[in-house]
Symmetry: D2
Subunit: 359 residues, 4 copies
């Protein structure tokens, strides 16, 4: 008998269901003696022993469905070792559930925080296989994560729609794209949508440069300017602050997010009307795009192969176009940022896109 626990953790994204379907189909075409324990709402389900017994049929027809049939929750890594009010050590609780159910392994789908906890469980001796899930594509050790391309598609569609209305009026438009720490989604969507200015957490901006770009466009007879701005975009000044100082500054900010702050600054410095669009959680929603479905299915099948071979302690990854495995200890806790000097950024600058950092 093969007993597999499965959970999805962190912010949800597209193709979580597609990936789990891949794992289950991959295992169940080879073996009949499989029990699948679906833990509810992420690590919480593992901690408190909340799960459903699932059959292959539960994974049929979910390839195209957004969200996760298991539910998810954010469970901060830092608190995993901190006992609850009632004295519960969450790591011990998870181990307890694992051993009590006599599981052969855990399949864990998640992003950066999730991988830290997954690696911790590995260190504690549990058999773990993980899948790289996040719209942010910021996981170290893999060229791609599922959810990313779908999020890019949605953010791009938003910019596209703004483009047509932008040509009718003479305005500045800000589209706030998801990404607090990394800017991959903003970078791709910005280029795909033909944004004029792209602001990323990795490349601090100067509001004067932004104003200059807008005014130069006006002089060149362009009616509008479109900014694709990551949630975590940061000014050069703020980038000099210490982390703690910046957090305090953010907490006091009178705007709900960066887009609103930028809008006021631009309105003041350029005298242009500014309009804001915040697609927000739509970027995590809806059916996964074809790319993500193929990718999630492949990593799911690969995870099945690892489990059938009893190869544990790995994240399934894509490297140079091939699906492969990477030791968890190598990837956990590391973020993959946009490198301001990478060729992609250079190509973007070459076609005249401004990153707000220089004229």
């Amino acid at each position: 008998m093969l007993r597999i626990g499965m959970l999805t953790s962190g912010g949800d994204c597209q193709a979580l269901n597609a990936a789990m379907r891949g794992v289950v189909k991959g295992i169940c075409t080879k073996r009949d003696d499989v029990e699948i324990y679906g833990f509810q709402d992420g690590y919480k389900g593992l901690i408190y022993g909340n799960f459903s017994m699932l059959t292959p049929k539960d994974f049929s027809g979910i390839l195209t469905r957004g969200g996760t049939i298991l539910g998810t929750s954010r469970q901060p890594f830092k608190l995993m070792r901190v006992p609850d009010a009632d004295g519960l050590d969450k790591v011990e609780a998870m181990k307890h559930t694992y051993y009590k159910l006599n599981l052969n392994c855990l399949v864990i789908l998640g992003g950066n925080g999730t991988h830290k906890t997954a690696n911790l469980l590995r260190e504690e001796g549990l058999n773990v296989v993980t899948l790289p899930k996040t719209i942010d594509n910021d996981l170290w050790g893999t060229d791609m994560t599922f959810g990313f391309q779908s999020a890019v598609d949605i953010a791009t569609d938003t910019i596209d729609r703004i483009h047509t209305t932008a040509t009718s009026h003479s305005r500045v438009f800000i589209i706030e794209v998801m990404g607090h720490k990394v800017g991959h989604v903003t970078l791709h969507a910005g280029i795909a949508g033909g944004a004029d200015i792209i602001l990323l957490p990795e490349i601090p901006y100067d509001i004067k440069v932004i104003s200059d770009v807008i005014q130069k466009r006006t002089k060149a007879g362009k009616k509008f300017t479109i900014l694709a701005v990551a949630e975590g975009a940061i000014s050069k000044e703020d980038a000099k602050l210490k982390k703690k100082e910046y957090k305090e500054k953010l907490a006091k900010r009178k705007y709900p997010s960066i887009a609103y702050e930028l809008a006021e600054q631009i309105q003041q410095t350029t005298d242009k009307e500014v309009r804001i669009t915040v697609p927000g959680h739509t970027q995590r929603g809806g059916s996964p795009c074809a790319y993500d479905r193929v990718f999630a299915t492949r990593v799911g099948a690969k995870a099945a192969e690892l489990i059938l071979n009893q190869e544990y302690g790995y994240m399934v990854a894509m490297r140079d176009g091939e699906i492969t495995k990477v030791p968890l200890e190598e990837v956990a806790g590391k973020l993959k940022y946009v490198d301001p000097k990478c060729s992609f950024i250079q190509e973007a600058k070459m076609i005249g896109i401004s990153f707000g950092d220089e004229l």
Copy 2:
């Protein structure tokens, strides 16, 4: 020789180009001796005499294109009669352009404000035919306006995406839909998207009712609640204020829009995490949906017929499924609101949707 002036005014929307294409194709399949003057950026072009000479070819291939090839601007009706700093009377300026170019008629595409000015020009003796353009579907005298169904599609798509991510987490989601004065888009998109609570300018809400609905849903085991909220949604208290008082209150509001205000109130009264999505101007953008293209093409063709028959002073409209004409004086300046007692609202309440007004 037939000399036609054409302009698009007010907030832009989908199918403006489709409608103009219908007008021009409809006229040019009948007559060869046509000159088309495309005024730039709405009434502004007529006031200052800015126009391009257009040929049928300019209207080819624009059926599916969003925005307006003529550009548009908001030109407040109230200021039309107020002379400029340099003493320019704008109404006289428009008449001057009209007579100087020896126009046979003006084709004007716009919403409520646009129609007031169009009717004014009619009263001044100009030949005018108008087309009902607005995402709000709030024009009196027509069952439908083009742009409306496309905006509903986009807002619905937004709610759909939120729905899939909502099922993964346990949260309240607010989607802020366009509509400051009327709630047609929010009502349709809310129902199409399966929103649990729909807030319209025409039906003031009680925050206690909203909290109650959310908590009842939680008790019934539903993880999430989705609110489709019109920009102009208003509380019962605020609805009692005088218009001026309310405007002053709004001006002091610390939130950029109603969604953010509601979010804080809900967070306080229900202790739920709330997430906000503001699709904003995306609702005016992109290619028109099939419905709008058909509708816009038909009203365009009808406008062509009126012009060929020298029937002026009408808005082209849809009534009971037929394309027809309505005297401008009957429609100008009147808004078509959502009637809180209409059968549509009753049907929505019947299937359990809350409008925040009663339990």
Copy 3:
């Protein structure tokens, strides 16, 4: 106790689930004592007594889902009265199931054939309420059917895509749109997609006219011609044949469908390369569009109202924008064709669209 049987019959379409959800939500917000019997695969389920007991929860989350959770089948009206090989009279069998389960009424969702059988059951004394489902919008007594607008959207999207590739090459493109007897979908999609020639079952075409239109376009410098052709498009010659003769001719046709026949004729008469697209059953598939969801929800709620009021023997319909009821006996067996003389066709001709009937 209120016992409701429900079935979906005939070709499937979008918004069947949305409509059933509307019925069930509408009833269950008013009454707790409801039993819902979902018959499987259309009338077949009623005949053979195959059903599932369904709860309101089964209808939750299906608003946006295509297909039908009950399954469907085509059950020719003509055979309903003909005993089976094993002597089963199907009408009696249906009555038997109805009375055995002690049903209060049947909710039947379907198109033309379905309504004939529904009316027959009504005549036999059963309580019946029907909902107008078909992509064809060919039901007599209602201005609209659900499924129609979604099918138009999909066919339009097909023509849109062809349009962009058509501009690159110098070719003739045929898009074969669903509709064997009526041309509503083809007419709407053809106009929405900017087709140059639209061929409908109701307006027989002359291949010489088609060739002429194509050659005139070539002379006018247009690279391509796009034809939106209904499956049941028919030549003037064939339209003169007796029904039986035409059927025989069709059976011998060496092409799988009209598009392939036309392609060869056009290739011969114009010497142009022709490309064919057959979207086929995609036109019935996928999530319903916003329009259909709203419409289906409304007719569902109205059906609930009728049931709660014990008003039976009606089809729920839309007339002049209002949801209303129509006696089944008035509508059963009648088709709503495209009237070749209606204003819509005239508007289309006015903007230069050819229907292949005249130059």
Copy 4:
């Protein structure tokens, strides 16, 4: 002065305009003294000297537009060296145009055939830079071509729609996906769409295996089976024929394409109703997806860099995620097939997808 000729050749696809925009923007942000000669309809324009002078403005706003603003045509490589009826040697004609216009280089966008001719021109001494365009992703030397992901998206969308209608009826559905020689699009779309059987030109099928799979599914209680079939799918028997014999057999085939042939065979061997969908040229149409826009923009920018550096004789390619250059002589004339033994196929088989080759 920098004089650049540009042409798009072969079947059109998405993102051709995006790629050309990338080239022009990339060059014109660095140099002002540029002349762009846009040759019409592929090599034909170069042969007969048909071109337009284009400015950067002509490339503005075309990022999202399908098709190619230059037009295209198929110009068989084999005939390039064969003089016309009027004695015209086409290769000499192209060189003549090139030298007469005093061009510095040619930017050529195309697929396999196009690259053969491009390499020929390079051998003849012309400066050439090429971009990898084709929905088929069958170009040797690059991991990706633009157009591919967009075509996969469209084919996947087709399968998705069929899926929902398939669940309502008990049928077999065949979706015929573009690809005469290679099956990349079918493979990706088949997996993304959840097809049960995928037939590729590279993996000959056995009709008995297909029937078996369908019947096993029926026995397992699955109502429907979906086949994603490449245009060039071939049976094991036919794969044994010599190329010439097979061509003759195809010419005599009574069906317009493989889908119709398979449908009849499946109907005979399984007694199931079969429905066919042929999305056809829609797969080349419409706005490019975000992935293709980013990719096309990047290769365009890279081509600009090569031109500015006077590095000629290269195709711009993607390898291991980086945009790079590959010598034309290495890639021209070679196709990149789906390797039946690659890990991707193994992963697909692992989750239970049949390729019709084995049980």
